[in-house]
Symmetry: C2
Subunit: 307 residues, 2 copies
């Protein structure tokens, strides 16, 4: 195999009570990439469509991730990478992660799968570091593994794929405003009240239990974030109204996707997820804020080979 074309899914990180540890993979939102072997011993980004992003390998998250992986393998094989971007950078649904994870997924396939999906995560994290300055895994892990990924620990890296209930759907709305990652970080506090931390880990325990037992009511009761959301939601116009509209329309819960500005909701069933998306959209439409809406199942597979 000398060429591979595949779908690179968008992802939701910081799933409500799972700040910095829990991400999920979307099914209907994502980029496409084409990677082919070359004889020149170089990693080249030969084409990016849909967005203005750097073509220089060292400045592109896909290029950086690919090089980290090839360095670990000691491989001098050359590759050219084409990226067809559909996920908007800065939307909060893992645009850079899709490209970083995509690069290592595709090259791994072309080289005969020397690495497991889990082993690819650290290479893709190098791309994330270029994008955000931090080695975070909660987007690249679900992009590579599919489903819900729990980053139990960073030192050492320990990522666990959780069970995904079959009827869970996500509604995502992306208001066309910019929330700088630096701003989203600066509003956080370095310490949290112990009482709130206990509530948060109680909720995360409940959410993980609800995922394994497919208990949608428990998932719903557990989708609370008393620590991050109250601070970051101030950066997103109409956040509370959008979230309330989602709940009123039948969503199990939701929150800020990644560091925003996208807002997501989880629902039982696609019909409810569509109603929820419509209700969320209604708030921004009424307020004159431009937006994009996605409705998606949870993608338990991750990257998907197209040809």
């Amino acid at each position: 195999m000398n060429e591979i074309r595949f779908f690179c899914p968008a992802t939701i990180a910081n799933v409500t009570c799972g700040f910095d540890v829990l991400g999920l993979c979307l099914d209907t939102v994502g980029d496409e990439m084409v990677i082919r072997k070359t004889d020149d011993g170089k990693v080249s980004i030969t084409r990016i469509e849909g967005q203005e992003l750097p073509l220089q390998t060292e400045r592109n998250v896909a290029g950086v991730s690919a090089m980290a992986m090839l360095k670990a393998l000691g491989s001098s094989q050359g590759f050219e990478i084409e990226i067809y971007k559909k996920i908007k950078p800065g939307s909060g649904i893992g645009s850079s992660a899709a490209s970083a994870a995509g690069a290592v997924f595709g090259i791994n396939k072309l080289l005969g799968t020397p690495f497991s999906a889990t082993e690819l995560i650290p290479f893709a994290m190098e791309g994330e570091k270029l994008a955000s300055g931090a080695l975070h895994a909660d987007n690249v892990a679900p992009a590579l593994l599919g489903g819900f990924s729990l980053v139990r620990s960073y030192e050492p890296l320990d990522v666990i794929k959780l069970h995904t209930p079959g009827e869970l759907f996500a509604s995502v709305i992306h208001p066309q405003i910019e929330v700088k990652t630096a701003d989203a970080r600066s509003v956080l506090k370095h310490s949290v009240p112990l009482k709130k931390a206990i509530q948060q880990w109680g909720n995360l325990g409940g959410l993980v239990s609800g995922l394994y037992t497919e208990n949608y009511e428990l998932i719903s009761r557990s989708l609370n974030d008393g620590i991050i959301e109250p601070l970051r939601s101030l950066l997103i116009p109409k956040f509370n109204q959008v979230k309330q509209a989602a709940l009123d329309a039948g969503a199990l819960g939701g929150g800020i996707s990644g560091s925003g500005p996208s807002i997501f909701a989880l629902s039982k069933g696609q019909v409810t997820a569509a109603k929820v998306a419509e209700a969320m959209a209604g708030i921004y439409a009424g307020a004159g804020v431009d937006f994009e809406v996605h409705i998606s199942g949870i993608n338990v597979e991750g990257m998907r080979v197209l040809s």
Copy 2:
């Protein structure tokens, strides 16, 4: 049925990364209680063997819990309660919880089970409040439900019974020293670094996942507490040596049981749990500290009717 005799299990609260939310039920350690109906319309503690504890109904955790339950039912049925204590008060393995939960379990049975086990929890919490001053559920919940109990939320109360892997065993060592609950509380800090809180909820998520998937290695990796244990372990002599001896003997992990002074370890298999108990005992034996040791499976049933 006019009389019931039953086993009231000891419990481990604050299971490592699950401070204030996660408890488990022991199988071979516990009290016995006998409760019988009377015609005098009163709740009386007629006998306590094994410990010096108050016989006055209002000053006894079993009495207080029983009265809370009967008040909620609007029942004027009388009961006499006998308690055969084997769990030492102040040991950190749910001595008061066994009596509080036992009283409401037994009376509920004698009245034809008007309440589910989960519905009994708030009444038993009234007994816990008498014992410790706080309405906590992480001992009474596993005593009533069996297995691992997650207290997802207190307001409203939401307790979830988690899956228990079949080969999990506990080793518990109780050094014969007193740790006052007030001291155990006063060493805690009101706020925690966000970074440590994130690690804690990552570990709790990993532990819950490990319980459902019976992944003992994941359970082991998740049994870390970077918040409470470093503070409270200072109150327990030789804590670090005891814990290290347990790990060296093959334990998956462990920590402080409740607010101490008991120390527990979890292991895969009874043979390893016995070796772990022996290793823990070796530390206290060598240091001249009196101690008691228990080896127990996880009791997935909770209270057990004997006759």
